[in-house]
Symmetry: C2
Subunit: 238 residues, 2 copies
């Protein structure tokens, strides 16, 4: 009923030609969606917003992704394309750079660590490639298949868990447009104070008073990671 409304010819000619076709592609959709998420956070990534950004009708992207879940998978795969492991490293160097690079990736794209677990689970080509590279480094050790995989998974679990926490904190910081972690703590102080005033958390309180690396997230990440790697070394006999 709206198509044959008063609009005729001239108006229709006025309308920018529906583009030389092939405006959309999974590539373009992925980069655009990632750009939105990088700039304004995951909650800004909306089917409608994506379409607007692409200069296209709300339903258009559905030709390429079956729904929002698909879009998220596409985004994950897209950013993981940047993650490659240099060859020729021993198992420990491999796992370590895997972990560190993944962390860097998640710091660059904070939304990555905020995705729901099932979006991160996705068996995506670029994620598979990363896994394969890490497994390749472990394959030389003559571990049985189960152990090899569980070593890989343990590192992956640590990285994701640690980054979930770290990027939730950093999201809190930028959400309130605070400049650094120290300001965050003074912001959160009332809540923390309330907890502490109950006197139920003496050791935690002691930590808050005496710790000197509360803001050194890299150190915290690396320390835990190195412990984990030490564990593999001792338990599996290098």
């Amino acid at each position: 009923m709206a198509t044959d409304k008063g609009e005729s010819l001239w108006e229709r000619l006025e309308r920018p030609s529906p583009a030389p076709r092939q405006t959309l592609s999974p590539q373009r959709i992925a980069t655009t969606a990632v750009a939105i998420a990088d700039a304004e956070g995951l909650e800004a990534v909306t089917m409608r917003r994506l379409a607007t950004e692409l200069g296209v009708a709300p339903m258009a992207p559905y030709r390429y992704v079956s729904g929002k879940d698909d879009l998220l998978e596409l985004m994950v795969d897209h950013v993981y394309a940047d993650l490659r492991l240099p060859p020729g490293l021993d198992w420990r160097q491999s796992l370590r750079t895997l972990a560190v690079r993944t962390r860097e990736l998640m710091l660059q794209h904070r939304w990555l660590a905020q995705l729901s677990p099932q979006a991160k689970l996705s068996l995506t080509p670029n994620r598979m490639t990363v896994a394969e590279q890490a497994l390749a480094a472990l394959d030389r050790l003559d571990l049985d298949a189960d152990t090899m995989m569980s070593v890989f998974r343990a590192v992956d679990a640590y990285v994701h868990g640690a980054m979930s926490y770290e990027s939730a904190v950093s999201a809190l910081i930028s959400e309130q447009s605070l400049s650094d972690a120290h300001e965050l703590r003074t912001e959160l102080a009332p809540l923390m104070m309330w907890h502490m005033q109950t006197g139920r958390y003496p050791i935690f309180q002691h930590y808050l008073r005496t710790a000197t690396r509360k803001d050194d997230t890299s150190w915290q990440f690396d320390t835990g990671l190195d412990c984990l790697l030490d564990g593999f070394a001792t338990r599996l006999g290098i």
Copy 2:
């Protein structure tokens, strides 16, 4: 305009008395919401659904929780009340039972592991208590505050990361009403086959063919955990 519509007296008398007041409480809200999530998954937890289940108008719970985020925090705190560490354990036993109990909690409430990281981050009394208990076990070791916290955090990160993965898989299983993990694999087979046919993942393929504990998620969890604990032991000199 709807209040003084035709409705008069008899209709108003018919209306069930607005209940003897104090129908709602944070407690009741939490248990009800948790029950919904346990039974039908996190996506079934809706403000409207919650209200219906409580026998109350959609906006009523807002007197007690400021929004959906608050509700999620309340739910997290509620289930963590069940998690206590027995006293008198050494540091390793403490961290291990902390991890294992947390895993059990997340298996009991699969939605826990599916929450967005910022919902899990919440500084909730019962979570604080758990942390305090774990830190207490570490406090006897004379580590500096930073190291102590990073040990605790590493275990927490591992647990959350591992359970994110595990419960995403188990959600996939129940989502398609498959009876066990083996059926899942035959269901996922086409996708996996497609990946394998590319020939780009030879080591992964080797794992799929020769691994015998692919479904033993407890073993996988415990193995990674024990490696991590070994790592603390060696790196920190017990």
